[in-house]
Amino acid sequence: MLAGLTGRSRFRHLPRTASGKRATSGRAIGRVAKREQRAAYLFLSPWIIGLVLFVVGPIVVSIVLSLTNYSIIFPSHWIGLQNYHTMLHDSIFWQSLATTLTFVVYSVPLYLIVGLGLSLLLNMKRRGVNLFRTVIFLPYVISGVAVAILWSSLLNPQFGGVNWLLRHLGIANPPLWLQSPTWALPSVVLIGLWSVGGGAIIYLAGLQNIPAQLYEAAEVDGAGPWQRFRYVTFPMLTPTLLFVLLTGLVSAFQVFDIVYLLGGPMGGTGSALNFYLLNLWTQGFGNGRLGYASGLAWILVLISGIVIVAVFKGASRWVYYEHEGN
């Protein structure tokens, strides 16, 4: 209110618009409002500085570095687009890209569906459900390193628990898992399934946000369990699904810890676990080709950017917002 009063005097020279307001750029800015603005930017300054130093700066620097043959030890030169040229003819690059994309295509939808299924189960009122929730969520907080160490033992082809179970189920020759080029990638997908409960937490929160009246109304209209899911639960949950899909995609593009442990810097048997970020790390910090690794980084930012924009564009078709535009 005070801002409006002082604002009128400051912008008296400006012509009035049709709505009766002075035509300043946007809202009339008074002394108090100006002080508020200055204070706001002061509060924002840690983030703005951090953004420039740790996000925008590195993105720009990675473009510049990618045009050089920068390494820590030797003096660097401007080499133009040669790094990108090398990349196009580097079978390891293509293989790491293919591995990561295959992982994304299999793991993201699988984790999305399994997480949703688990959260639907855990949203029911049954005795002991809180205990089950805790158990199912717990692996989410355990590090990739610890999970990799645990599962490399369980997936041991001769003595591991997984193959013991498979033999008991009548599979005479169970897969060699991490020691086989064909089964190494599915192994990583399987291991990720162990900590899929993390997504279930978010779905569960989304499920608890759905008003009970909607279900009551659906039941009065004679909707069965499947119809209640199809026409109430699912539409109301789509914003949550979009969120989990986006964060799942971003993290699937940057798998590192598990494959670094299970496959080592070269990506294990037949380089089957040579994920994109692992290749970036090996090229940059193993082989000292930091310029080339910058190029790789920039390409990854670009690819994941394209995928995310595509998901956002597609989202308007299937994501339902209860309060449109709020």
């Binding site: 809202r27 033992s153 003595f159």
Partner: protein, 308 residues
């Protein structure tokens, strides 16, 4: 088929309530019990999938050095060996001093929690409760930075910190947290928006500055969401492998994540039972902090809403 079955129902006058026959009641109850049994079967299977591996690891961790870790039939629960001493031995293992690693990790974790809590609450406050120019575009920028694959930026960040002379120190692992984290800023902003606006206005009338409002009114009211952020920071930093792997070069500086990775990759020099004991120990602190806030977490996410 369905039309024939539905036909008798439509004949019943709509407002007459017919008591279900005894047989119907039993059938309904039977179905309910069957459904409940199925639910327990599925949920218990999932829990077994999660817990049996941990049981196996505990069994192996409690074995003496000479007992085989792998047996033809996996032992999912400890029955024979109870060498609890192995946990102590893992902590003071000469090649991989896990006690030292734990202290280092705790230092990094708590420095990050301080950085995150200060920066994110400061930044969230104007986004939630103040008017300033470019608020909307800046907020969109914040949302976009949540989706940047930051791990891809390790090379330029390394370039930056290396030339600052921070290689081999904890600074690259700590200082970025003082620049805020988009996800936490978003979370805190959503929470701060729900605090009644009248509180600020009353405080303004009393002559409080914006900083005083933030510090004396908004911050104390935001403790629930700040706790959630602190716990997430704890878990992420406790588990972080890539950062310490890049910037630390001395065994005495290493964090638990690198310690475990090194011990695993040099398993020729390491005893597997001690590796698994250390692995199990490393899981306990994040599990405890998670258990402490689990209830608040689900409720918290639900009330914040993800719709933005």
């Amino acid at each position: 088929m369905t039309t024939i079955r539905q036909a008798p129902e439509t004949e019943v006058p709509p407002l007459v309530i017919v008591a279900p026959s005894r047989r119907q009641v039993f059938a309904r109850r039977g179905l309910a019990i069957f459904k409940e049994l199925c639910w327990y079967l599925v949920v218990l299977t999932v829990c077994a999938f999660i817990l049996l591996p941990v049981g196996w690891m505990l069994t192996a961790a409690l074995k003496p050095d000479l007992a085989p870790i792998y047996t033809f039939t996996p032992q999912w629960f400890p029955t024979h060996y109870w060498h609890w001493n192995n946990f102590y031995r893992a902590m003071v293992y000469p090649l991989f001093p896990f006690l030292r690693y734990t202290i280092n990790t705790l230092f990094v974790v708590f420095a990050n929690i301080i950085g995150i809590l200060i920066s994110c609450s400061l930044v969230a406050y104007p986004f939630a409760r103040m008017r300033f120019r470019f608020r909307e575009p800046l907020f969109y920028l914040l949302i976009i930075t949540m989706l940047v694959p930051w791990q891809a930026l390790i090379v330029p960040q390394f370039f930056f910190f290396y030339h600052l002379g921070w290689y081999g120190t904890y600074l690259p692992l700590i200082i970025p947290s003082f620049g805020g984290n988009a996800f936490f800023i978003f979370l805190i902003r959503q929470y701060m928006r729900s605090i009644p606006k009248e509180l600020d206005e009353a405080a303004r009338v009393d002559g409080m500055s914006y900083f005083q409002i933030y510090w004396r009114i908004i911050l104390p009211l935001s403790i629930p969401v700040l706790t959630v952020c602190a716990v997430f920071t704890f878990i992420w930093n406790w588990n972080n492998l890539l950062g310490p792997l890049l910037y630390l070069n001395n065994n005495n500086q290493f964090t638990i994540a690198i310690g475990l990775a090194n011990m695993f990759q040099n398993s020729a020099n390491a005893k597997t039972n001690l590796l698994l004991a250390a692995n199990l120990l490393s899981m306990i602190p994040p599990a405890i902090v998670f258990l402490a806030i689990q209830k608040r977490l689900i409720g918290g996410i639900a009330t914040l809403g993800l719709k933005g």
